[in-house]
Amino acid sequence: MTKGRRGLGGFLADFLRGSREGWAAFLFLAPAIAMVLVLRILPSTQAIIDSVRLPNGSLGLGNFTFLLGDPGFQNSLKVTLLFALIVNPLQIALALALAVLLNDRVPAIGLWRTILLLPVAIPQSISAVIWSVIFRPDGPLNAVLGALGLPEQRFLTSVDQALFCIIVMVSWIGVGYWMTFLIAGLKDIPASLYEAATIDGASAWQQFRHVTLPQLRRPLTFVLVADTVANFLIFAPVQILTSGGPEGSTDLIMNNLYTRAFITNDAGGAAAQTLILVAVVVTIVSVQFRLMLPKEGQA
């Protein structure tokens, strides 16, 4: 009973000694280890090998140098970073605002939450087809603008507007989803903290700034990281709405990667691009984790 917190090293030592406890631990861990091997380690290893295999069969870093000099890839990276810079703060701010709003006593609160969450239940491909009709130059959105006396817009056919149309569509899907995590976080905040703040004379904004936000740090960190990763991997809406156009203005990295892998059949280039994408995402997520660490003196 002295082996309460022995860690993986202890179990490994037991296993290597052939002890019963070591074997039991191994058997419990085996399915997870097998899954990690088959679903993570092997494909990652394969991607690394493919990324250094050049089209002529030799090995080297040529795929990476080709990509870094490729205007199509450079544009895709630029568009993806711009997209991430806008869509992540926007979605999180909206999700947080809606979570705070729907955490109060609003009439028919269940109905509002369901309506906001509903787009997640619709397959992304179907949502994209619906939005493609909405955004058509002769579609219903322009009809509404016309009825309001506003000029018609080109939406998905405009280099300047297409990326924002994608942002609107993916936010329509995502905001309600991320909101549910934040509502769960809000429910966990003890009411006594708000009571104490009220007694101290804190205004609603001060309560939000000094009670709600610090207490929401953990769910917010999760939403920030998961939303960032999800938005880096957006594919179906782009493929269906714009195929990356017009003029590459919506060529998000997953669309570019898909085209390279499955349309132009450049397996080596696609594997190298996957590794670059992973590196970019890991870097950004690491920075986010660091930024969301509690400051000294905070819980």
Partner: protein, 418 residues
């Protein structure tokens, strides 16, 4: 006695196992783009005639076809036996060793399909797929919209076809007289339908060289033709933001005066009871030659299939067999010459005066104006890059700048092909 009963038992066992083997059902997986009801009927008919072979027909969206084939055959997936092969992709699939050699069927194929489709399926002297469908284009016109604009109906005689300038002039008149759109493309932005524009204007297919791996899309003629294409949309004669799947509806609902599309839409348009339409041969550029696109889906067998013999039996049924190919075609144009005659006659008679010139136009175009897409291992990349470029030009990009970018992208993509 004991010996004879042993022999008897062994014989009975052998007979029963043989019977078991004969009764064993083979299941074949068949991958093909969705939306073709003819194939479902052909599968049912084939299974009725061959109860020991079951065809698992997997219809998938057209856009996913290439990626599905690449990912499954790239891992040597033996469960995929038969699949649809888009005619210009034969070369790339052969290069990756994803097709079975059909050369032993070449003389039979020549008799069934004629020279041109067999040539498309032939790479380096070997035939790799069997043509199932063929294609061409028709110019559909809305009789009421032309009448309202006092525009005469175009002639159905291929030797008296309109020039593009004449057509656009008439389309503009129809638009001025109330048509929402003067002219609409069926497969807008797709190289398949736009190649004839460039060929008719003397710009060529956009690729040259012995392996068709040298881009020529930056030439003056290409820029001139692409600018002409972009102007259609900039002038509001044709709609922006409408995808190919939504295009036929523009004509069916009476919004477009002229529509440039595949013959299969005749069936669709006949169902639109309010629509009065006619057929004409597609226009050409003055000073150039009339050109129409051709070829369509072929059928190939995976070299990793464990049931190649049974797979070939099914492939023969939907391609070489006149009866099977007629069923498999549905509303599409069969490549098989015998089934084509039946198809052409049926479609000529189905719509009375509206479809009367159907057979004569199709036969003329297939024999005189059909031009295949380039046979090249780089075709898939070429088509992808060009389709995106056409889309950009439709949306307002400068033709010269767009084509210069395409030229650069093509050179980079071809340099990666080995």
């Amino acid at each position: 006695m004991r010996k004879s009963s042993f022999v008897l038992a062994a014989a009975a066992l052998a007979a029963s196992s043989l019977m078991g083997a004969r009764a064993e059902e083979v299941t074949l997986q068949f991958l093909f783009p969705s939306g073709n009801n003819g194939l479902e009927a052909a599968v049912a008919e084939f299974q009725k005639r061959n109860p020991d072979i079951k065809i698992q027909y997997q219809p998938i969206p057209f856009a996913q076809m290439n990626s599905q084939v690449l990912s499954r055959l790239g891992t040597q997936d033996s469960s995929l036996d038969i699949y649809g092969v888009d005619a210009p992709r034969v070369a790339a699939l052969v290069q990756r060793k994803f097709l079975t050699d059909f050369s032993s069927l070449k003389s039979e194929a020549l008799a069934a399909f004629g020279q041109k489709p067999v040539e498309t399926a032939t790479i380096a002297g070997k035939m790799w797929a069997l043509p199932m469908w063929n294609s061409t284009q028709l110019l559909y016109y809305n009789k009421d919209l032309l009448k309202a604009a006092s525009v005469p109906e175009p002639s159905a005689d291929p030797t008296k076809r309109l020039t593009w300038d004449e057509l656009l002039d008439e389309a503009a008149k129809a638009k001025a007289a109330g048509a929402k759109w003067g002219f609409a493309y069926d497969q807008v932005d797709r190289y398949y339908q736009l190649q004839p524009l460039f060929e008719s204007n003397g710009a060529g297919p956009g690729l040259s060289g012995p392996d068709m791996l040298t881009p020529t899309v930056g030439s003056a003629k290409w820029i001139e033709t692409a600018a002409w294409y972009g102007k259609l949309f900039a002038d509001g004669l044709s709609p922006r933001g409408v995808e190919p799947a939504q295009s036929p509806q523009l004509f069916a609902s009476g919004q477009a005066a002229f529509f440039y599309g595949v013959p299969a839409h005749t069936t669709t348009f006949l169902k639109a009871t309010e629509l009065k339409f006619g057929l004409a041969p597609v226009p050409y550029f003055e000073g150039g030659k009339p050109v129409t696109p051709t070829d369509s889906w072929m059928i190939g067998i995976s070299p990793y299939s464990k049931h190649a013999e049974q797979a070939l039996k099914f492939v023969r049924f939907i391609t070489l067999d006149p009866e099977g190919s007629a069923i498999a075609a549905g509303a599409q144009m069969p490549a098989n010459k015998v089934s084509f005659q039946q198809y052409a006659q049926r479609n000529t008679e189905v719509g009375g005066a509206a479809t009367a010139p159907f057979a004569s136009i199709l036969s003329y175009e297939l024999a005189n104006t059909a031009v295949s897409r380039p046979h090249s291992v780089g075709y898939v990349a070429f088509e992808e890059i060009m389709n995106k470029t056409f889309s950009d030009i439709r949306n307002g990009a400068d033709a010269a700048a767009g084509l210069a970018k395409a030229d650069q992208a093509l050179k980079a993509a071809f340099a990666r092909l080995q």
